[in-house]
Point group: C2
Chain length 236, copies 2
DNA sequence: AACAGTCTTTGACTTCGATCAAAAATGTGA
DNA sequence: TCACATTTTTGATCGAAGTCAAAGACTGTT
């Protein structure tokens, strides 16, 4: 397993950070942002690199600046479940356990704000506003996890794929990406491992959705031709 | 849907509360416990009653004193996914959203500590220790949810049932219940909806585990004859 | 003890998604 | 542009779990 973090060449100011408005630091005032910035390191990851691996010591927390990561757990025999995709503004480390509970790797190029566990915790310790912000993000994460359990346990392959597309569209919209052409930076195998399916079933289901006029398959993404029908499948 | 909360006859003191040591209030000192106690109401629920329903206003939070609850989400067509069973010491309301994200009903008789959302939030607001405690519980919840995603997405029926039994045993052990006879207060249908299976598959799998000498089926529970083999299935 | 109601188990059959295999498409570098 | 590797798609077949149906066990009640 290749694990590497390339050091960023320079620190950007937090004030003009692209995710300033919705990242974990949104709860902080100017002085606090400055203080927290001094505890952070800016790192870049190349596509495919593992940022941290399940069951290793959780020495760092991260806030995502750019790019997409996949979070996953492996069974001893190699079966993989992707438990989530992570987007700019998301925070890694909410569970707060001593070891990482899952692995994270960069899907495309990624840049991260890295914090040492100890200094981040010390910073948060006596700041109720910040602690409440952490709670807020953890709550959202928990809700997403619960939704995903319903998907994994009780939905058909077609519903799973439609839900994934709608959910992905909505998350991209939240961070400012509009338009009915959805980029899908992750491969079919990642989608399969996220939905609890095989790559063949995902591929067949994409093809079926295209035959039915619901999507158009593009290289590196899809076009949502009939959002209403996709949403119906996704809700059903 | 029958929704009812019977009012408790008298307030017990928090000091001799059975879950004092591991409930959310474990992070509080004597004065604070007393303050929080004054915001609480003690309620009892009969078996099968719904404590709160998905998509209704989340006006209360709860700490479980006695009994077991099932938390579940329903799809429009009635498919149900149980996202967790809740035991004494667990807290309901960690996600903090304005509406309940899932329904909760009592499996057996249940007694709860009820807090109004507003007064609980006000109490927590400026208490970093308490906020960190909430974070800690939310983190645990999140880890459990992630484990459950792996189970739902990537495990066979036999592995699911074995994992459920081992997980249930471990959670009961955490709250002081020892012994290799496991009470299972929930029915087969609840287990099925928790594991993403049908009741028939759960029943057949129990029978198979019994034929293989791993468990003994009792009324209202099982006896774990070969914990090692069950653990192997559960980990695999 | 007998009854009704519910829950659980078992049996027969079906189906959805998995598996195995190969072709097509896409990307990459000389 | 062409060869090669990787990813995606398609096809044929299989099997684990779902569905439908009925029998059996347990619960509480009169």
């Amino acid at each position: 397993m290749k694990v590497s973090l390339l050091e960023g060449s320079h620190r950007q100011t937090c004030t003009d950070c692209a995710v300033r408005g919705f990242a974990i630091c949104a709860a902080l005032d100017k002085t606090e942002v400055w203080e927290l910035a001094n505890l952070s390191r800016h790192v870049q990851c190349e596509p495919g690199t593992t940022v941290f691996a399940q069951a290793t010591m959780a020495t760092s927390f991260f806030s995502v600046l750019e790019g997409v990561l996949r979070l996953y757990k492996l069974l001893p025999d190699g079966r993989r479940q992707i438990i989530g995709f992570v987007l700019p503004g998301d925070f890694l480390g909410l569970a707060g356990s001593l070891q990482y509970e899952f692995s994270a790797d960069a899907v495309g190029a990624v840049s991260l704000c890295q914090f040492s566990r100890a200094s981040f915790s010390r910073f948060a310790e006596n700041r109720p506003r910040f602690l409440r912000r952490i709670n807020e993000l953890a709550g959202r994460e928990l809700i997403r996890a619960q939704e995903h359990m319903v998907l994994l346990g009780r939905r058909s392959a077609e519903e799973k794929v439609a839900s994934f597309l709608i959910g992905w569209r909505d998350r991209l919209a939240e961070i400012g990406h509009a338009g009915e052409v959805l980029p899908l930076p992750m491969g079919r195998l990642d989608i399969a491992d996220y939905l609890g399916l095989t790559i063949e079933t995902v591929s067949r289901t994409f093809t079926k959705l295209e035959r039915d006029g619901i999507i158009r398959i593009l290289t590196g993404g899809i076009s949502l031709l009939d959002a209403a029908r996709a949403e119906a499948l996704s809700a059903a």
